[in-house]
Every structure is written in structure tokens, then in C-alpha cells.
């Protein structure tokens, strides 16, 4: 089962985790990305490309599902303004054994960072700044090729 959501609403972790707990799964891996409050950031706003973003995430979920023979994949990504500590992204993978769940979960967050059209803007008080893409993220995604 594949479930993808791009939403302004806060991520309901207990519900999302329950949804990825597939009967027969021997292992469930999750990744939760949160808004860092370091460096004086007071707000983080996520912009996305409606339609394309969802399509890319579904494509990545389908790839992971097939590559690791998964039983379930859930990707939830929040958009709009968020505060430090808020959850930005939830990824859950379910498989018969832990290795497939852990690897596919790492794959999905690495690829999401370089392949899904989202853009982060940080606010520090009255000043806003668009976050620049990092070469280390591209390297992390490359290693799964």
C-alpha cells in the first residue's frame, strides 16, 4: 500500500504510523524531519509545485516499493509556514525484514531532497531568506543510483 500526502495541516504521527503498520510486516522504519530552531530561525515556510510534487513523491514511493519488495510506504510532507520543532516530513516503510525497511526509508528521504519540487524559506525576525540547495544532498541521492 502506497500513501502520499502534501498538506498544510500538522502531520498526525500516531495515525500515519498506524497506517503504515501492515499486517505481516516484520519491520517498520520511519524518518521524521523537523524544523530546526538553530541559527535564529523563527519560522520555516515550505513552497511546492502543486501536482508535480505529489506525482514525484508517488513515483519515488512506487520505485522503493518495487526495489525493496515493500509491504507499505507512506510519505507525508507539510507545506506552508511552520515553527521550530514542527514536523516537516514523515516517511514510513514496512517490509518483511528490517534491512529492506531501513534502506528504503533512507533512500526515500535522500531522493525526496533532490527530486521533489519543494523550496524552503527561513525567517529570522523580520528577515526572510531562501535556503540554498546543498551539494551533500545531491551526493547522498547519487549513491542510490
Amino acid at each position: 500500500m502506497i500513501s502520499v500526502s502534501v498538506q498544510p495541516a500538522p502531520i498526525d504521527l500516531p495515525s500515519e504510523l498506524a497506517a503504515v503498520e501492515i499486517k505481516g510486516a516484520g519491520g517498520i522504519a520511519t524518518f521524521i524531519g523537523t524544523v530546526r530552531g538553530d541559527d535564529g530561525v523563527t519560522e520555516l515556510t515550505l513552497e511546492h509545485y502543486p501536482g508535480m510534487t505529489e506525482a514525484v513523491l508517488i513515483g519515488l514511493a512506487e520505485e522503493a516499493f518495487a526495489r525493496w519488495g515493500l509491504l507499505g510506504v507512506t510519505i507525508v510532507h507539510r507545506v506552508g509556514p511552520m515553527a521550530p520543532g514542527d514536523h516537516v516530513v514523515f516517511i514510513g516503510t514496512a517490509s518483511a525484514h528490517r534491512k529492506e525497511a531501513l534502506e528504503s526509508c533512507a533512500y526515500l528521504i535522500d531522493r525526496l531532497k533532490t527530486d521533489a519540487p519543494f523550496w524552503k524559506q527561513e525567517r529570522r525576525g523580520d528577515a526572510t531568506e531562501w535556503v540554498e540547495a546543498r551539494a551533500s544532498d545531491a551526493d547522498a541521492a547519487e549513491k542510490w543510483a
Binding site: Y49, M52, A116
Partner: protein, 83 residues
């Protein structure tokens, strides 16, 4: 052709979307960026450094030398930073 802009490209141009009739001489995304730069000061500021831009045609990532033939929707934006 429907154009979409995101993040600082959108902010500098001042709109998130616009419809344009593209001249025949504009054959690929790089040509489009160059041609759009002449539309306003905002366009010029947003599109001054093509190396910092990425694009999608009909919601699929493409390189800047991708041909525009048949494109309905072209998006121009900075490198993505989600997750």
C-alpha cells in the same frame, strides 16, 4: 504557453504564473529564459543567472537545453530544498 515560477524566481518576477505567446525563435528552455529576461526588471533580476535555475516541462524536470516543442506548461525555479 503557461509559465510557472517558484521561490525567489516567483518573488523577483512578482507573479507566480503568466501566459505568454513565445516567438518561434525561442526553441529551448535556455532561449525562453533569455527572452523572458526582457519582459521586465523583475524578470531580468530573477533570470540573470541561468546556471542557478532549474526547469520542468509539463511537470517533468528537464535540462535548460530541452526543446519547448509541444510544451503546455513550463516552470522555472531554483534548485529544490525539501525534506
Amino acid at each position: 504557453m503557461q509559465l510557472l515560477y517558484f521561490a525567489w524566481v516567483r518573488e523577483r518576477i512578482g507573479v507566480g504564473a503568466e501566459d505568454v505567446a513565445v516567438p518561434e525563435a525561442v526553441v529551448n528552455v535556455a532561449d525562453l529564459i533569455c527572452w523572458l529576461s526582457g519582459r521586465s526588471e523583475g524578470h531580468a533580476a530573477a533570470l540573470a543567472e541561468p546556471a542557478k535555475l532549474r526547469a520542468a516541462i509539463d511537470q517533468v524536470f528537464v535540462s535548460l537545453d530541452a526543446p519547448l516543442a509541444g510544451a503546455k506548461e513550463v516552470a522555472i525555479f531554483p534548485p529544490v530544498t525539501g525534506g
